[in-house]
């Protein structure tokens, strides 16, 4: 059975690195894996997404609406935007972070204060303060790896040797931080 993981966020939050590590780990574990990304203008503050699918034999690299087993959002509004990709009984992990878009900065729109409430009307979200947790272990930028940890736990992938995958994909000076971050993420989900 093919599983579908959707990572969404705002350009610059590190979704691409998280999905790179995830897909390499899945490949090393013997799964067939496909990943699809839309980038191009992703560094310029737009919405970004990485779609990861794995199983015995994966056909489409693209996740259908209503069919993601898990959606992990690096930002609150992006979680709401991606909600129609989640299966009705799927898992939603939300990083409790609010990033104003340009329309909010210029005053053309207001960032609603009840985004999480709207989400929780429909699904039970696992709200994680990944940015705060990352700050706690010394670097806010490790939030993406903490969120990767939540995927690994929620999808039952803890048997894979993630330390080895991190070693192959992360610069040595950031390795310990990211190993710690991954564990923090795994521990953040029951």
């Amino acid at each position: 059975m093919t599983k579908s993981i959707l990572l969404v966020g705002v350009g610059g939050q590190g979704t691409i690195l998280a999905s790179k590590i995830l897909t390499n780990g899945l490949m090393e574990a013997g799964y067939d894996v496909k990943m699809s990304e839309i980038h191009g203008m992703s560094q310029r503050g737009g919405s970004v997404s990485s779609q990861v699918r794995y199983g015995e034999k994966v056909m489409s690299p693209v996740i259908e609406k209503g069919k993601a087993d898990i959606v992990v959002s690096f930002e609150k509004m992006e979680a709401l935007r991606a909600l129609d990709y989640l299966k009705e009984d799927g898992t939603l992990v939300v990083n409790n972070v609010e990033i104003p878009s340009m329309s909010v900065i210029t005053g053309d729109e207001e960032y609603p204060d009840d985004v999480l409430e709207e989400i929780e009307k429909h699904v039970k979200a696992k709200v994680v303060d990944a940015t705060g947790l990352a700050r706690g272990i010394g670097n806010e930028k490790a939030a993406n790896i903490i969120l990767l940890g939540t995927i690994i736990k929620a999808m039952g992938l803890t048997h894979i040797d993630w330390d080895a995958i991190l070693e192959a994909n992360i610069k040595p000076q950031f390795l310990e931080l990211n190993k710690k971050a991954l564990q923090v993420g795994i521990d953040a989900v029951e």
């Binding site: 699809s36 900065i105 210029t106 429909h122």
Partner: protein, 591 residues
């Protein structure tokens, strides 16, 4: 060795394994990473050409001289390269030649959705369409073998989802292919009419042979299962179809899609109860299937625009959309891309958008974002290099009608080298007094920082002659040339005022590096205190007027309770545009 590669990476890998020695391209999403990856192999010479036509011609030259060569481009780039490509098809290769086009169903980063499979048919050049990364490798290698055997360049047509999706591939050793000898052969390489007539005859004969190859190649294959539904699909649509129909259908997977296999298609259609043609964009396969007398269901059921993803196919076939969580869409806020903090385009467009009685003729690049809020400083964008020439036409038309409206044109440094130079020649030669702005941010920005003729470095990172835009502009004959720092709003205003008063063409070069660029030693020498400072808001002085926010900087935000603006220290790079806008001098440099 097993690796997880994108289609773009796999095209480069396939070219490497096939012994390719020469690669040329102009960057364009979603094709850019092909040449970026080719440039990482020591065995391959790789270059950024100023545009796709030049890249194509360079690759043709390398092939004629005996090397295996590759040229890659986004779909609209093939329009630029079409002139040499059509005749190249007549000539045939010496060393094998592959032409890669990356199409964009859904238009994620493009101005149109053209289907370049039509180019293969129009230029009579055989075409392959891979469905995943392994096929990218296999088809590139096959294209060189077949191309040299049948004396033809090959087109490989990708789409965004093939280019930017990763799947598992098996990487193999490189095969070193010795260069073919060059021989004087005007009947093959000089397209004088007398020669070209003979070439056309040979081209048509070659196509006949290739029709036979298309019938037997393993890239075109029937996978028979349940025969109540038969699906004919190429590229990514093959996998989308498998996702939707699984083993409840039979498939004709087409990978060699010009020329199409007539007999194979007829045979397949005769064995299934009904035929779905699944293809994005144009009914390219469908028209052929109908032309050879087979019934099928195609664009009468499936859309001709956007991606044909599994949920789209499912909704068309069953009449029902996937069940989704229905939430309150009014809670969503838009999150469009915007100029980065420190973007050198900000100061220019902030001021330009405030000018009345002008038309702004724009171009293709990050700066096209100026069309949206808060600047609304772009009135037209067509294609690369069009800003100057379209603007010249509009300015001339306004003059002819006795209208006083002035035309300001805007393009980037890489776009200037791409096709802007020809357009500026038109402006000067035909005496149009447009104000032409070149946004020189010292790099090709939007596609992710590729070198260009103005940066002083090649695709391989070697130092080279730095072509100075102001020298080119003066050589063309522009007498009024301003080089300004776009972060200094008074310089922007002064240059605009003076140029708009002229009855001759003028050029304003806004020269400041992209904030995301990895600065070269030349950048560091030329530009003083490059993004090393920060700005701060004095909350006591801030009156909450929010004028500064109209500069559209993502580092700034407004606290509606405190009624004060603040600047995010992690994002601000101290460009000072906001400090010049604040009417209360509340924004200053951090100490």
């Amino acid at each position: 060795m097993k690796k997880l590669l994108t289609g773009d990476e796999a095209i480069a890998r396939g070219a490497y394994e096939a012994g390719v020695r020469y690669a040329a391209a102009y960057p364009g999403t979603p094709s850019t990473e092909i040449l970026e990856n080719l440039a990482t192999y020591d065995e391959i010479y790789a270059e950024w050409a100023p545009n796709e036509k030049v890249a194509m011609e360079a690759a043709i030259g390398a092939s004629i001289a005996g090397l295996r060569s590759i040229v890659s481009m986004k779909h609209v780039g093939m329009n630029v390269a079409a002139d040499p490509m059509f005749t190249w098809g007549y000539m045939g290769v010496n060393g094998g030649n592959v032409i890669v086009t990356a199409d964009e169903p859904g238009m994620f980063s493009s101005q149109n959705e053209q289907d370049n499979r039509n180019y293969a048919k129009a230029a009579k050049i055989p075409m392959l369409e891979p469905s995943d990364s392994q096929e990218c490798i296999d088809m590139v290698k096959a294209a060189y073998a077949m191309g040299e055997q049948y004396d033809s360049p090959f087109i490989i047509r990708l789409t965004t989802r093939v280019c930017h999706s990763k799947s598992i591939v098996e990487c193999r050793e490189r095969e070193e292919v010795p260069a073919k000898a060059w021989e004087k052969n005007p009947a093959k390489y000089v397209c004088l009419p007398a020669m070209a007539r003979g070439m056309k005859v040979r081209l048509l004969e070659r196509l006949k042979t290739l029709e036979g190859v298309s019938e037997t190649t393993p890239f075109n294959r029937a996978e028979m299962g349940d025969t109540s539904v038969g699906v004919i699909a190429s590229g990514i649509c093959y996998y989308y179809a498998k996702e939707v129909f699984g083993d409840k259908a039979s498939y004709l997977k087409l990978g060699f899609t010009y020329p199409l296999p007539k007999n194979l298609i007829r045979d397949f259609c005769s064995k299934v109860d009904k035929v779905y043609i699944l293809e994005e964009n144009d009914p390219y396969i469908e028209e052929f299937v109908r032309q050879i007398g087979c019934e099928c269901i195609g664009k009468d059921l499936f859309p001709s625009t956007g991606e044909l993803t599994p949920d789209v196919i499912r909704a068309c076939v069953t009449g029902e959309a996937n069940k989704v969580i229905d939430f309150d869409k009014t809670k969503l806020i838009a999150r469009a891309p915007s100029f980065c903090a420190g973007c050198p385009h900000r100061g220019l467009f902030y001021r330009l958008g405030k000018r009345k009685d002008i038309m702004i003729s724009g171009d293709i690049g990050c700066y096209t974002l100026a069309a949206g809020k808060p600047y609304q400083a772009m009135d037209s964008t067509v294609c690369m290099g069009a800003s100057f020439s379209l603007g010249a036409g509009a300015q001339r038309a306004f003059h002819m009608e006795g209208e006083s409206r002035r035309v300001v044109t805007v393009l980037g440094d890489s776009t200037f080298f791409h096709t802007g130079i020809n357009s500026l020649i038109d402006t000067v030669y035909n005496k149009v007094n447009t104000v032409n702005i070149i946004l020189d941010n010292r790099i090709t920005g939007m596609t992710g920082h590729q070198e260009n003729p103005g940066t002083g470095y090649t695709a391989k990172g070697e130092e080279t002659t730095l072509i100075r835009i102001e020298d080119v502009v003066r050589a063309i004959g522009v007498k009024h040339v301003y080089v300004i720092n776009p972060n200094h709003l008074d310089e922007v205003d002064k240059a605009l005022d003076e140029c708009l008063a002229l009855d001759e063409p003028s050029v304003i070069i806004t020269r400041w590096p992209c904030a995301l660029k990895k600065f070269s030693k030349e950048d560091k020498a030329e530009f003083d205190s490059l993004f090393v400072t920060r700005n701060k808001v004095d909350a006591d002085k801030c009156i909450g007027c929010r004028l500064c926010l109209k500069a559209g900087c993502p580092a700034m935000s407004y606290d509606s309770e405190a009624k004060k603006v603040s600047i995010n220290r992690a994002q601000c790079v101290g460009c000072d545009v906001c400090t010049q806008i604040c009417p209360k001098a509340a924004i200053s440099k951090e100490d």
